[in-house]
């Protein structure tokens, strides 16, 4: 399975798809050397393997326009009726939300709330069938996603609904934990709550048998986005 991702990534790389990035920072918009792309593809492939090893589902390395369709398909596959999503750090959550609404899914949009609205908003997120959030980083060696939460992207999105979907940019897939913490730096870590998520919520408290979905999501799906130069 993971080998397939590696091949797909390498093919995209060879075709020049994703060799350039139009996304979130100036440095990334410069042409990316081929060696670096191959390195990223290899990290994404390791990430995919480790994510699946801890019970997560890897949905593939997709271009930004493929992401929306894949999410609509996934929502159908898991039998969701309501989808909760925040504002994207990099993903276009408005477009994703509109596409889901067109496909007749109910949408819960998390926005900064006043104290009086907190309980009601949480209730809505908790009753959604899946929560969608952007991750800031991913860790290849452990299959982990790192999510910094804030008013637009509350921790609840990856915690309360029974399924979780996380989107991460390919250039944010780091080799290991130390690299992610170094990238974030002390100020990045302290800015707001940071959560490292490695697979679905689980327990081994009853006779050491692993059961998924204790307090958090029973399933976690991850999309790695390879930005395309349109």
């Amino acid at each position: 399975m993971a080998e397939l991702h590696k091949i797909i990534a390498s093919v995209k790389d060879a075709l020049g798809v994703g060799a350039r990035s139009n996304s979130h920072d100036a440095a990334a918009s410069a042409p990316v050397p081929v060696a670096q792309s191959a390195h990223r593809a290899a990290l994404a492939s390791t990430f995919a393997r480790e994510l699946e090893a801890v019970g997560g589902k890897f949905l593939g390395i997709l271009t930004p326009d493929e992401v929306t369709n894949r999410i609509v398909t996934l929502a159908g596959e898991i039998g969701a009726k309501t989808v909760a999503l925040g504002q994207g750090a990099v993903s276009d959550m408005d477009a994703i939300g509109e596409a889901l609404e067109r496909a007749d899914f109910r949408i819960v949009r998390t926005i900064p709330v006043a104290d009086t609205e907190r309980a009601a908003m949480r209730e809505r997120v908790a009753n959604a069938d899946i929560g969608i959030a952007d991750a800031d980083f991913a860790i290849a060696s452990t299959g982990t996603v790192a999510v910094v939460s804030n008013g637009d992207r509350p921790s609840s999105l990856t915690l309360l609904p029974p399924a979780s979907l996380v989107i991460v940019q390919i250039d944010r897939v780091m080799a290991n934990l130390a690299a992610v913490l170094a990238e974030l730096g002390p100020e990045g870590v302290a800015a707001n709550r940071l959560t490292l998520i490695t697979g679905p919520s689980r327990t081994a408290d009853i006779e050491k048998r692993i059961v998924l979905g204790v307090h958090g999501p029973k399933s976690i799906h991850v999309i790695v986005v390879w930005p395309r130069d349109d």
């Binding site: 921790s155 709550r193 490695t198």
Partner: protein, 476 residues
């Protein structure tokens, strides 16, 4: 008040536990599964030993500069909007939290898994103040329903079978009996979810506190730590003074080894980095955040250069799983919050000499030292504690049989200093035992030494087998 364990209770409960074959089966199977997982993840992580060395070095350095680090941590926590309370002992910590809960009119207290709150017996104190505190880690929830305390620091309900738990849920909730872990977990999830969404006061432990940033790090698998620290308006984190590490860059060394040794995972499912209460407009996180930093005997441990090393402990529980004593008697027999090899060091230091019998509950086989992710020399510290107990003013009151054995050992030690006497007695024994021997082995020694041959044959002593005599030393 904390329950002070007594030597007599320990001997009684360990004797009962040893003869509980069902308990032994559960412990053996859980420990074996843990060790298998650990061996797997260790084999595919070549940097494991380097990370261990780094973790050992960082923790030892942190303890050596603990005073400065605690000051830095306090000022950083306060700068992030936390209230910091240093508690000298368990009573102070309990008092602070109970008063806070009363002051906030707390009705629904949720607790993430925390050994430190077990140590300060927080639940009982809250209960006496008329406040219900619900344990939300599945294992802790189960033992709380049974009115017990956890029997393992990572797997609190390790002493229970799925059938025990199924029966418990039927009795408590009136649901149809099932022993399927999936169904039992789903039942607990839905019950606890309602409690979480209505919780107004949350308490958790802390795995690491980063002095540089004022960040608390909590690792867990279920999500109850995340919920306990994000849903309630008031959140209290309770940590021992030894949890502080200097810098963010130190953290990865610990996280790379903690889950591997604790549960055989590469990383736990959730690692939360909490820096202060929620920001303006945030949906999640508490309005106010308190950090209780507990001494309760820990600073006294620093004063002893040998015992100090035990404060490196990151509570992974691996030493319990490899310990031949723990695997036979289980956690409850220790009669202390912290069982197993590391518990035998911590308990006497935190709970006083009443727990002084615990360092003797070890074969000193060293398996704990080998597996310890932060390389604590547990057998050495246990020996040191034994020496302190034997030399101290508050000498242990041993049960009579043990006291007799100790007197016997002392007499033997005196006798063994005289080689001529030893040789003479050896000759005598060889002569007396000769008629009982069969093919060089004694199947059964008569009289008071009979227990030696109860389960194994004993080689017949032969006078000419004595080792070549070394240079004779003056007695004494």
């Amino acid at each position: 008040m904390a329950e002070i364990p007594k030597a007599r209770d320990f001997f009684e409960s360990s004797r009962a536990a040893v003869s509980d074959h069902e308990l032994r089966r559960k412990l053996e199977s859980a420990s074996a599964r843990h060790l298998d997982h650990f061996a797997e993840v260790k084999a595919e992580f070549p940097a494991y030993d380097d990370e261990r060395d780094a973790a050992h070095r960082i923790k030892t350095g942190a303890i050596a500069h603990l005073d400065e680090l605690l000051i830095e941590l306090k000022s950083k926590l306060e700068a992030r909007g936390c209230k910091v309370f240093f508690a000298e002992d368990a009573a102070e910590a309990r008092g602070y939290i109970v008063e806070l809960a009363k002051g906030r009119g707390a009705k629904n207290v949720v607790k993430g898994k925390s050994m430190t709150t077990e140590e300060i017996e927080l639940n009982g104190a809250l209960e006496r103040a008329g406040i219900d505190a619900v344990e939300t880690d599945l294992g802790e929830y189960i033992v709380q329903l049974r009115g017990e305390r956890p029997s393992h620091i990572i797997t609190p309900a390790i002493h229970l079978s799925k059938e025990d738990i199924g029966q418990l849920f039927t009795d408590k909730f009136g649901i149809e009996y099932t022993a399927e872990p999936e169904k039992l977990t789903a039942e607990a999830r839905s019950r606890l979810r309602t409690i979480f969404l209505n919780a107004d006061f949350g308490v958790t432990g802390v795995n690491f506190a980063i002095a540089e940033t004022g960040t608390l790090v909590i690792v867990e698998n279920e999500g109850n730590g995340r919920l306990s620290s994000t849903m309630p308006e008031t959140f209290v984190a309770v940590m021992g003074i030894e949890k502080v590490i200097p810098r963010l860059e130190d953290l990865s060394h610990f996280l790379e080894i903690l889950a591997r040794t604790a549960t055989g995972q590469k990383l736990t499912t959730y690692t939360s980095f909490i820096t202060g209460p929620r920001r303006e407009g945030d949906l999640d996180g508490p309005r106010e955040m308190h950090v209780v930093i507990l001494d309760n005997g820990r600073s006294a441990m620093i004063a002893d250069p040998v015992i100090r090393e035990a404060l490196n402990c990151i509570r992974c529980g691996a030493c319990l799983n490899v310990c031949p004593i723990y695997r036979r008697i289980g956690g409850h027999a220790y009669r202390s919050v912290y069982p197993g090899p590391i518990g035998s060091i911590i308990s006497p230091n935190l709970f006083g000499s009443a727990a002084g019998y615990l360092p003797f509950a070890s074969t000193l086989c060293g398996a704990c030292k080998d597996i310890c992710p932060v390389k604590i020399d547990i057998p050495r510290i246990l020996l040191h504690l034994r020496w302190k107990e034997s030399a101290g003013e508050h000498r242990l009151k041993w049960p009579r049989a043990i006291e007799r054995a100790r007197r016997g050992a002392r007499r033997f030690a005196k006798m063994a200093r005289h080689p001529r006497t030893v040789r003479a007695l050896g000759k005598l024994a060889a002569m007396v035992l000769k008629p009982f021997a069969h093919n060089g082995y004694l199947r059964r020694i008569p009289g008071p030494f009979g227990n030696w041959t109860k389960y194994r044959d004993f080689p017949r002593p032969r006078p000419h087998q004595r080792p070549a005599p070394g240079p004779e030393r003056p007695p004494g």
